[in-house]
């Protein structure tokens, strides 16, 4: 069996959110809510983790949402329907803890708006009452609301500019719901690190057990390198194999922010020098000292 990782469908569903449907039976048949894959757009690319946002057993496909944040995501987005990824490994990480909790609250931002869908579905199938809150900067950036809406009991939308739903963020809507007397037995958040931190702060006073899907920098994604290590309750965990879901109330957020920014300068260099990659193959090859001197 040859795995090709062919892109079956690709579309920019709202500005800068790209939906990829990729054929890979091996991963589709094993995917669980909360897991991720590692993707390389091309041979020279980085290995980047992306959340499994849906999968179809019959078609043997998986769905990923990609936001352009740097060179690696840009190169991924440059690929077209019919193209193949260079590398696709997974499903990685533990599945999200899904069982009958009672009343479950889910929050998603950025790629997490796509990524919480399988968790919402799985939580609902376990018989939970599921509330989802999704956020974006403005109404035209909200996506996936029908899919999520179809599997949850309550769906709330927040926007930074107030153009849709509550003006604010997931944690603001959460505070409002709690103020109105809603109680939750479990919370789970997926999105950028800042959002995860803010949401974890919001559930702390009520002591709602809170899982966060940590998106640390990863390399192999199988526990081999320790790049994604994060302090949780004073203990070092590897986000790739101990997570990605970890206890939002125990994560050392300051450390995580610092670790996430280790390559900030290199990211800028990479972005600046990227224009040279669109040269002709001949020019590019001449500039590639393959296996040679530094």
């Amino acid at each position: 069996m040859v795995r090709e990782y062919r892109i079956i469908e690709k579309s920019e569903i709202v500005p800068n959110v790209h939906k990829f449907v990729i054929r890979d039976h091996s991963i589709a048949r094993k995917a669980q809510a909360g897991q991720f894959v590692l993707v390389m757009a091309n041979e020279k690319g980085e290995r980047i983790p992306l959340t499994l946002s849906d999968w179809d057993l019959k078609e043997g496909t998986i769905t990923l949402y990609v936001l352009e944040l740097g060179v690696s995501t840009m190169e991924l987005i440059d690929l077209c329907e019919g193209d193949s990824l260079f590398s696709l490994a997974g499903p990685l990480g533990h599945e999200a803890e899904v069982k009958k909790f009672g009343r479950v609250l889910l929050g998603g931002g950025c790629f997490g708006v796509g990524g919480i869908y399988p968790i919402a579905k799985a939580m609902k199938e376990e018989g939970n009452h599921v509330t989802a809150i999704i956020e974006a900067r403005s109404n035209y950036l909200i996506y996936n609301q029908e899919e999520i809406g179809s599997v949850v009991d309550e769906l709330y939308i927040t926007t930074s500019d107030g153009s849709m739903g509550l003006k604010g963020h997931v944690q603001d809507q959460l505070a409002e719901l709690i103020k109105n007397g809603k109680r939750y037995d479990r919370a789970y958040f997926m999105g950028c690190t800042f959002m995860l931190m803010k949401c974890s702060e919001a559930t702390r006073p009520q002591k709602i057990p809170t899982g966060v899907a940590l998106n640390a920098i990863m390399l192999d994604g199988t526990g081999m390198c320790g790049c994604c290590r994060v302090s949780v309750g004073g203990e070092t965990k590897f986000a790739c194999v101990d997570g990605p879901e970890l206890d939002g109330h125990a994560v050392d957020w300051d450390e995580l922010f610092i670790r996430k920014h280790i390559y900030r300068e290199e990211e800028a260099v990479s972005y600046q020098s990227h224009a040279c990659r669109s040269m002709t193959g001949y020019e590019r090859d001449r500039k590639t000292p393959e296996g040679g001197g530094a």
């Binding site: 980085e46 081999m224 390198c225 290590r229 001197g293």
Partner: protein
């Protein structure tokens, strides 16, 4: 007298040049040098060198073929028992194996067996004289090999030759395991690893990369649903150890696994042409004294370190690294801070390491490993400035495959328990070998285990009735 002539020196890049590039350090022997070195071999009746080799390479026989200028035949002679001579000639610790036993070593210097092994393997490959052995008739048996490092490649090579259908599953996007992600280009050029894997594929083995076993497929599924008759687990010991001391999660503190994987597998030394970055420290401290520590510290030099340091808690005599690696590191200007141990790291305002506090050590009584135990000297703490740290103190058993493998017995360190005569685990038809059984060891030891397992798998499968083809 034969043998009393001095041992051949391998020509190599001068230290000041090579410390700044990623090209291979030793150039290899010329035919002339190889002939002269081969002539030193006494061709002992009872060759002790063979006993010193974990896979029993027929050393005097291959050296005799070199003397007769049959270089490719010499390579084939080695391959009768060692599938990867070009690799072993470069990375084996010959000084504690074959060469340690060489009779010449008593009065003079031992024959440079490793150099000669490398020479004929390179000759065969570069002259394109590699013969792809004709496999035995198909047995109808299928074997899954998990991990494409040295032990997995050995098992696959042996079994495919015997007519079994072999599928190798590799978790990363490139095959070779530690040969690819761990050992740097300047010590083992990746084209050599690729050539070995290509030969295996030409022989009929199927290689599946991007396949994280335990996640994408479990061992039970391989055997019950995918029709494999046996499984070999050679996943290595890929879980980096840290010291759990304060400040260890500061930025620019890497595990050796991460640092080397970025540089070797992802080619971060060619950033930004390759997109994966790696920090380039100016004052780099590598904690540990093994081969991986030497690879890390020499890589840091090549990435522009002004000060590249080994910080090791025992003395020079106890450095576990291969002698040649330590010697090369010294020549290239690596500083050795011996009998030192870090106790905490200090960060700057950006969360990057800027120094570490060390304590001086002295050697006490030998411990269970037979090495004298390092004991901290109270009150000897001092600061060592560094802007990058690479922790290279060994690895443990990676848990990923075990989440779906509860019925394989493991020892207290998490490594797989096997019957040492067959390498079979507590689960019938499931075998294991290499670092996941022994903990961190050498390439050749992993290959030795692979050879034992391949023989045992072949024997056991040959005793099984042929199954009906239902696939």
């Amino acid at each position: 007298m034969i043998g009393s002539s001095p041992r051949t020196k391998m020509p190599e890049q001068p230290p000041e040049i090579r410390a700044r590039n990623f090209k291979e350090v030793p150039f290899g022997l010329s035919e002339e040098l190889a002939l002269s070195e081969a002539s030193r071999c006494l061709n002992c009746k009872n060759p002790l060198c063979v006993q010193g080799c974990p896979v029993g390479v027929k050393i005097p026989e291959f050296i005799k073929l070199i003397k007769e200028e049959q270089f490719a035949a010499a390579a084939r002679k080695i391959k009768e028992t060692n599938a990867l001579p070009a690799v072993c000639g470069r990375v084996c610790p010959q000084e504690v194996q074959c060469e340690a036993k060489c009779i010449l070593g008593i009065k003079h210097e031992p024959v440079a067996i490793g150099y000669l092994e490398r020479f004929c393997a390179d000759y065969e490959r570069e002259m394109e004289l590699t013969e792809i052995p004709e496999p035995a008739p198909p047995t109808g048996k299928r074997v899954a090999v998990i991990g494409s490092g040295p032990s997995g490649l050995t098992v696959a090579g042996d079994l495919v030759k015997l007519g079994h259908e072999v599928v190798i599953f590799e978790a990363l996007h490139k095959p070779g395991g530690v040969l690819t992600y761990g050992i740097p280009e300047f010590r083992l050029p990746k084209k050599i690893v690729q050539a070995e894997v290509d030969n295996l594929i030409k022989q009929g083995a199927d290689l599946q990369v991007d396949s994280v076993m335990g996640k994408m497929r479990s061992v039970d599924e391989l055997m019950n649903e995918d029709g494999f008759d046996a499984v070999y687990i050679g996943v290595g010991a890929g879980l980096p150890r840290f010291m759990n001391i304060p400040g260890e999660n500061l930025n620019n503190i890497y595990s050796a696994n991460e640092y080397l994987t970025r540089v070797n597998l992802m080619k971060a030394y060619l950033f930004p042409i390759y997109a994966t970055p790696v920090e380039k420290g100016k004052k780099v401290a590598v904690i540990g004294g093994g081969n991986v520590a030497m690879d890390s510290v020499r890589t840091a030099l090549r990435l522009g370190a002004e000060k590249a340091m080994i910080v090791y808690r025992r003395a020079k005599e106890q450095l576990p690294g291969r002698k040649e690696e330590v010697h090369h590191a010294e020549q290239e200007g690596v500083e050795f801070h011996l009998l030192h141990n870090p106790i905490r790291y200090i960060g700057d305002e950006n969360g990057c390491v800027k120094a570490m506090e060390c304590i001086k050590m002295e050697l006490g009584e030998p411990d269970s490993s037979g090495r004298r135990r390092p004991i901290p000297i109270e009150g000897s703490e001092f600061m060592l400035e560094c802007d990058m740290v690479i922790v290279s103190i060994g690895t443990g058993a990676n848990p990923v495959i075990f989440s779906t493998l509860p019925d394989v017995n493991r020892n207290k360190w998490g490594y797989i328990e096997v019957n040492e005569e067959t390498m079979e685990t507590s689960k019938p038809f499931v075998y294991a070998g290499g670092d996941i059984v022994t903990g961190s060891a050498t390439v050749i030891q992993a290959m030795g285990a692979g050879r034992i397992a391949a023989n045992a798998i072949h024997k056991k499968l040959s005793e099984q009735p042929k199954k009906k083809k239902d696939k």
